[in-house]
Symmetry: C2
Subunit: 476 residues, 2 copies
């Protein structure tokens, strides 16, 4: 297919200019494969509009031509939600040129940004006026805020500040027919009808394209305390979480669990890394922040943790005494995914259960999986304060990893059934995309599926907006 | 109409029993008039189902008969959202018999309750396990949690804990066709498709009937500090809010503004009330909470406020030194509505603007209104930390109040246009109901209205679920 034989491409060039309609493999390929390289598709072209009006015109043109649209931000998703299928029918619509900071209102604690701003740029715009935008992810240098909102991104500070959904006051989106829904308000309270922005947040681009948002900001903390805690059991870690939160409330902003085996893996692949404490079955990395000074907060935290530790929970604890010590502790947590990559840990889960059920989940999974899959190695870390575990698996013998991976569907069902049985979810923060779409109807109720599809059909009757994501099959 | 001539009534009696289908005026009248007595309707009957299954059966029966349903909780709403129209066609479906606490999970900080529980009962169930359910309203003894969620209730602690929407993790609702949408999960993170519960929260019963919810709990604070602050200008109050929040973060849970004129009115109608500070143009009632002890928190707050006051903002300040002093300060704030009632303050608004624009709103409204309506008296109080003002008006001369009230529509337009011009809303927390439905299309964008109506039609194609609320006209 060349430029001249596809009238839609000619139309798109008319809208965004030839330089912003990518057609050569070298230009399009970064947009046709997902970040982990597990999904690879084809497209009619990759279009990069530069304004909201161009997005609307591109969407309207595709709608008219009956051509599917795959919205894409920084292309850092983990479930294939921004990768087109292999038909080559779709247009990939890349939002990264919509990267303007629209308005900053420090006294209202709000920031309005275009969807293509990177998360890091949003954080920086907030910091420039002495405020915090608390969403924080490994991919923050390249992921876009539009993608964060379309997927309702999570991260390490959800415990305190909520998921991406809870950080949005206003939203602007282009609907599947090209109309613009403008709800770019910066209000803490607005009870005037259905809260439509909620539909688009977390919809993975299936209902429209987010083009801008008004985000909540927070005071920039001036003090922080970072702790490493050792526990004998997950249950002890959960109990101490409740105590720490009762004492320090919203000052507790992170509570990250790491199993002994995960730390061993880390030290194997990063021999330069140092264990903060002697061996213990479970470790927790916790962070507290405040608006006073470091010394005061750290003293209060040390007093509290010291007294608790004297009582037996945690078994051991260290409070970082400098920012560099704190960074060293976070370095360990942040390098877990890379250590797993080097180990070729292939079967990954992003489940959540009620925080109170985490110990039971770990106990039951620790019993069931080795029985069903002898030699399985469980590598568990995650956001304990949210009940969200990255529960990853490989074979103890690397030579048998491929055979283990071949049983992935079976493994997934065991893990997901257990999470569901405990009132949990098969995807806490990564989403459904293509990766989990076939399983969704198993774990949602039939009525939930029916209502979701009815909403999808209402807003996107021709199923042209990111088809094949979230929902399996042609008609949503 | 008697029991025997209305086959639907016979069906309803078959579902819930004769004792729970009210037909006599003496029984039905409390359900046919709103709390303020501004809306009065008629109904075919008042039905009180006792279980989710009965709610579903009642809804299905009404759907089959083509009869509208008006869901009602504690009937404490302020916009006529739970009052039927005057046709006498509708069935009023009262949820108060669904008043069971379903599950408490202190370690997960969640509470599952049926929709008919009063807000006070929900607060008590949380307190019984050492937790806080932070939603707090004047009507909490009689309003129901289902009504709170259907209207996305606000209150004095939104600043810290968010609106009702932000306090919900899971929801169960009966759809207009009688099917049950069961999403009663207690998860902090769940990215598995559209977040359907968001549609029902704040929809004022127009999309279905909330029958149960899983709510977020928080640690019960162990310390509190209550302050009364004096300011010369709203701008000074807004600036100090930012400073206080920067220093104390989420420990600041309330920041309530009262104008001098509001306080004067309070002292006029409650001569026993004492002014906490000498006269100043504006007062703020602030509250902070913490998980440590009172003395520590109060000392930190006193240090901070003392230093700020020495710098000129606030002009004066007092920190309550006992719980009874704190209660006395809150008594003043809580009795403002009663003082206004005694004064016959008739034109009330519940607007919000960005916090940063509150001073401008007050300045412009203070200029415009007296020009347009000579003799107008502005009585302004509200949740300054949310930008939410209860901006109420009467005539200085009580004898001219009726003439002033006759110009209510004109007055409203001035106030609402000004709020909208500053990026605000015509209803921050009270909702739309019948009271503001005619104005909604003026202040929402056409696309917002179209999408809202499309969602309504999708879920309630025959417009039988609380018709005439939110949306004006027959077909939504």
């Amino acid at each position: 297919m060349t430029l001249t034989t596809d009238p839609l491409v000619a139309t798109l060039i008319g809208i965004v200019g030839a330089a912003n309609v990518l057609r050569e493999d070298a230009d399009t390929s970064p947009h046709l494969t997902d970040w982990r390289g597990r999904f690879c598709g084809r497209a009619r072209g990759v279009v990069r509009p530069g304004t909201r009006a161009e997005v609307a015109a591109v969407v309207a043109a595709c709608q008219q031509a009956g051509v599917p649209i795959v919205p894409q931000g920084g292309n850092t998703g983990l479930v294939g939600g921004a990768t087109p299928d292999t038909s080559g029918d779709a247009v990939v619509l890349v939002l990264t040129r919509l990267n303007r900071i629209l308005a900053v209102d420090a006294m209202n604690n709000t920031l309005s940004v275009e969807a293509g701003c990177t998360l890091a740029a949003v954080q920086e715009a907030a910091a420039a006026v002495g405020r915090l935008f608390p969403l924080s992810l490994a991919a923050e240098g390249s992921c876009t805020i539009g993608g964060n909102l379309a997927t309702n991104a999570g991260g390490v500070h959800v415990l305190r500040y909520g998921n991406a959904r809870e950080l949005v006051l206003g939203l602007e989106a282009v609907l599947p027919d090209g109309r613009v829904l403008d709800s770019l308000r910066g209000l803490r309270k607005d009870n005037t009808g259905l809260d439509l922005k909620q539909l688009f947040i977390g919809s993975e681009g299936t209902l429209g394209i987010i083009t801008a948002a008004t985000l909540k900001l927070f005071p920039q903390p001036t003090a922080s305390a970072t702790l490493w805690l050792a526990f004998d059991t997950p249950s002890a870690a959960v109990h101490f979480f409740a105590k720490l939160q009762t004492r320090f409330g919203a000052r507790l902003v992170a509570y990250e669990l790491l199993s002994r085996r995960v730390l061993d893996l880390l030290f194997k692949h990063f021999p330069e890394a140092r264990a903060p404490l002697p061996e213990a079955p479970w470790a927790v990395l916790a962070e507290l922040v405040d608006g006073g000074d470091d010394a005061e907060l750290r003293a209060a935290v040390e007093d509290f943790v010291g007294a608790a530790s004297a009582g037996g929970e945690p078994g051991d604890a260290v409070v970082a005494h400098s920012d560099s010590q704190a960074k060293a502790l976070w370095w360990l947590r942040e390098h877990v995914p890379e250590a797993e990559k080097r180990e070729s840990v292939a079967i990954k889960h992003d489940i959540a259960v009620p925080v109170s059920r985490v110990p039971e989940f770990l106990r039951l999974a620790g019993q069931t999986l080795p029985q069903r899959f002898p030699g399985v190695q469980i590598l568990c870390f995650g956001h304990l304060g949210d009940g969200n575990l990255h529960f990853n698996l490989c074979h103890v013998d690397p030579a048998q990893n491929a055979a283990f991976l071949a049983r992935q569907d079976e493994v997934n069902r065991v893990v997901f059934d257990l999470a569901a049985w405990l009132g949990g979810t098969i995807s806490a923060e990564h989403g459904i995309g293509q990766l989990r779409r076939a399983l969704l109807p198993t774990y949602k109720s039939p009525v939930e599926m029916v209502v979701m599809k009815a909403i999808k059909r209402t807003l996107d009757p021709h199923n042209l907006m990111n088809p094949g994501k979230l929902f399996l099959g042609e008609g949503a």
